[in-house]
């Protein structure tokens, strides 16, 4: 198993997203990191359920090995959920910018505590 398989890459993506969440101060970057983490997890699950040499989960003549379709179905739903959350977060960010004219978490904290 090469070191560059789906699972390792997805773990790197998740950690990248996590780093972004924990250290970035711009709201848009936070939302981006959240979505990156979401994508990473989705990739992780799909890679985890991948079987080498398996084909798409459609029953045809001559198929011997199939990839498990359940994770793929679940992750479709997961992608949709991630999309909804991200769009909602971006809408909130838009509104925050409208009201506060800043997208920096620290400045928001100060304005907030007035």
């Amino acid at each position: 198993m090469s070191l560059l398989n789906g699972i390792n890459i997805s773990i790197i993506i998740i950690l990248l997203g996590l780093y972004g969440l924990l250290s970035k101060k711009n709201l848009i970057k936070l939302v981006m990191s959240l979505y990156i983490m979401n994508s990473g997890v989705i990739l992780f699950f799909i890679s985890l359920a991948y079987i080498d040499g398996g084909q798409a989960a459609i029953v045809e003549e001559g198929t011997r090995l199939m990839v498990d379709p359940l994770p793929q179905a679940i992750m479709l739903t997961g992608i949709v959920i991630g999309l909804v959350i991200t769009s909602l977060a971006l809408a909130l960010t838009l509104k925050i910018y409208e009201k506060y004219k800043t997208l920096n978490v620290m400045e928001l904290m100060e304005k907030y505590n007035d």
């Binding site: 924990l22 101060k25 936070l30 904290m109 505590n113």
Partner: protein
């Protein structure tokens, strides 16, 4: 583990407390009718709930039910104390409710531990099961329950709520507090001792400290109700002393003193309430010469003051006689008793001379006459005090002997005790005189207990918690990233904990 509200059988101890309540609660009600001028519905509804709760406490035969009614009583009295809605009634009420609630929780935890040990809350069943239990297991229960009851009684070192709650409460409620609510705490203690069949000599020590401490600080007070509050602490010391002695004579004396103190302390608080109603003043230096203007109050006060000092033929003498007999032999306790009685007499001489006799200060403008509904309870209690003092054996035979199962016969009119009374009177007058001249017993100024204040300890403790909370609030307001870091830090921590214990 359900609540069992069984009141039967009404055993002699409950019967005694029931009679005390049934005599005194109507006095509070009558006085309130004249005293309370607004928010009638709120005041009287809470008053009746409190009455019900008090009756419940003394009648139930179940420790859990005792706790339930005790809490209802405490909360009811809290709402009555702050009924005045004056600015200073709130800190005092806050201190009151927090301390009494803590006391209640001690009682609850002790009852639960007792339930775990014996499987029941019922007092009669516990009584029969207790001899079989090891006393090691009963000791923490006894300690916790006792601490709870001592807080309710207002014994040193848990007395700090008393002197603050009494002055700010409306006068009938001060009378209710000192006259009845404290006795309920004593009732709880006696119930515990009877049911668990354990006693401790610590009560003697705490009782003596309360007695002496109460009168010493009472002499310094300038607020008439605060003086009476400290005097209550002192008198409940007598009761604790009697309970702690463990003999039938001691317990009988304690119970009799409970009855008597309820009567004369309520009488004294009602007198002070009448004074406050008439003159709107609470400080000694603003009062004086009221004997002519409020004659009924004056005479009632005299009866009460003589009763509390233990002068025959009033009821205080009889119960103090019993306790004197109970401590016979122990010279230190005897000295403490004499000193306390003398100090009490001195404190009430202070009230007598400076509030009723003497010149009326010019600042005292109009004096409203005391209404009939206020005079009635005072007169009734004064007469009751005299009657019980003249015929103490009736009270003893009817109420107390069934509890203590001893026969008391004429332990009162002994020449030794009469001589002791004379000594107390002279010593008390001397103490009063010395106190006034030396400035120890002041007539004006703030009435802090000063050096003796235990209040500072409690306030410091509360301040500690509050400062910690302020620090916490400051320390924990952070930005979003920091909150996220905490979350993942917790995840890492949990992982570390769990993975370390894998093999």
């Amino acid at each position: 583990m359900m609540l069992n509200l069984n009141f039967w059988p009404i055993d002699p101890l409950s019967f005694l407390m029931l009679v005390i309540l049934l005599v005194l609660l109507p006095m509070v009600f009558l006085f309130s009718l004249a005293y309370v001028k607004r928010n009638y519905f709120r005041y009287f509804s809470v008053l009746f709930i409190t009455f019900m709760a008090m009756l419940g406490v003394v009648l139930v035969k179940d420790f859990l039910a005792l706790y339930v009614f005790l809490e209802i009583m405490i909360v009811g009295i809290y709402f009555l104390i702050i009924d005045n809605t004056k600015k200073e009634s709130f800190p005092a009420g806050y201190k009151y409710i927090l301390m009494m609630f803590i006391g209640g929780i001690f009682i609850l935890v002790a009852s639960l531990m007792l339930y775990n040990l014996t499987g029941t809350f019922n007092m009669a069943q516990i009584f029969s099961l207790v001899p079989a239990l090891p006393s090691q297991a009963l000791l923490p229960i006894f300690v916790l329950f006792t601490i709870g009851c001592l807080i309710e009684i207002g014994a040193v070192p848990f007395h700090v709520w008393l002197p603050d709650a009494h002055p700010v409460a409306p006068s009938p409620i001060s009378a209710l507090l000192s006259g009845v609510a404290i006795k309920v705490g004593a009732y709880g203690l006696i119930r515990l001792i009877i049911t668990l069949q354990m006693n401790s000599v610590v009560f003697v020590w705490l009782g003596s400290v309360s007695m002496v401490f109460g009168v010493v600080v009472a002499m310094r007070q300038t607020n008439i109700k605060r003086l009476l509050a400290y005097s209550s602490i002192s008198q409940m010391g007598y009761v604790l002393l009697g309970i702690g002695l463990g003999t039938g004579l001691g317990l009988g004396g304690a119970l009799f003193h409970t009855i008597n103190h309820a009567i004369f302390k309520m009488l004294l608080f009602l007198c002070m309430g009448a004074i406050i109603f008439s003159t709107r003043e609470r400080e000694i230096n603003k009062l004086g010469g009221l004997a002519k203007k409020l004659p009924v109050t004056f005479v009632a006060f005299c009866f009460g003051a003589l009763a509390i000092s233990g002068i025959p033929p009033f009821n205080g003498f009889a119960s103090k006689a019993l306790i004197s007999n109970a401590v016979a032999g122990n010279i230190y306790l005897k000295i403490a008793l004499v000193l306390t009685a003398a100090g009490t007499f001195a404190a009430f001489l202070k009230l007598y001379f400076n509030v009723f006799l003497g010149r009326m200060p010019k600042t005292l403008k109009k004096i409203k006459p005391v209404p009939f509904l206020m005079r009635l309870p005072m007169v009734a209690l004064a007469l009751l005090s005299l009657l019980i003092g003249l015929f103490p054996h009736i009270v003893m035979a009817r109420f107390i002997e069934p509890i203590v199962l001893l026969r008391f016969s004429y332990l009162y009119w002994q020449p030794g005790l009469l001589l002791e009374t004379l000594m107390i009177v002279t010593l008390g007058s001397a103490i009063y005189y010395v106190g006034i001249k030396s400035g120890f017993s002041r007539l004006k100024g703030e009435d802090q207990a000063g050096f003796f204040s235990l209040d500072r300890l409690y306030c410091a403790l509360a301040g500690l918690v509050q400062n910690f909370s302020y620090w916490l609030r400051h320390f924990l307001s952070r930005s979003l990233n920091v909150y996220l870091r905490w979350i993942f830090l917790t995840l890492v921590l949990l992982l570390a904990l769990f993975w370390l214990q894998c093999n």
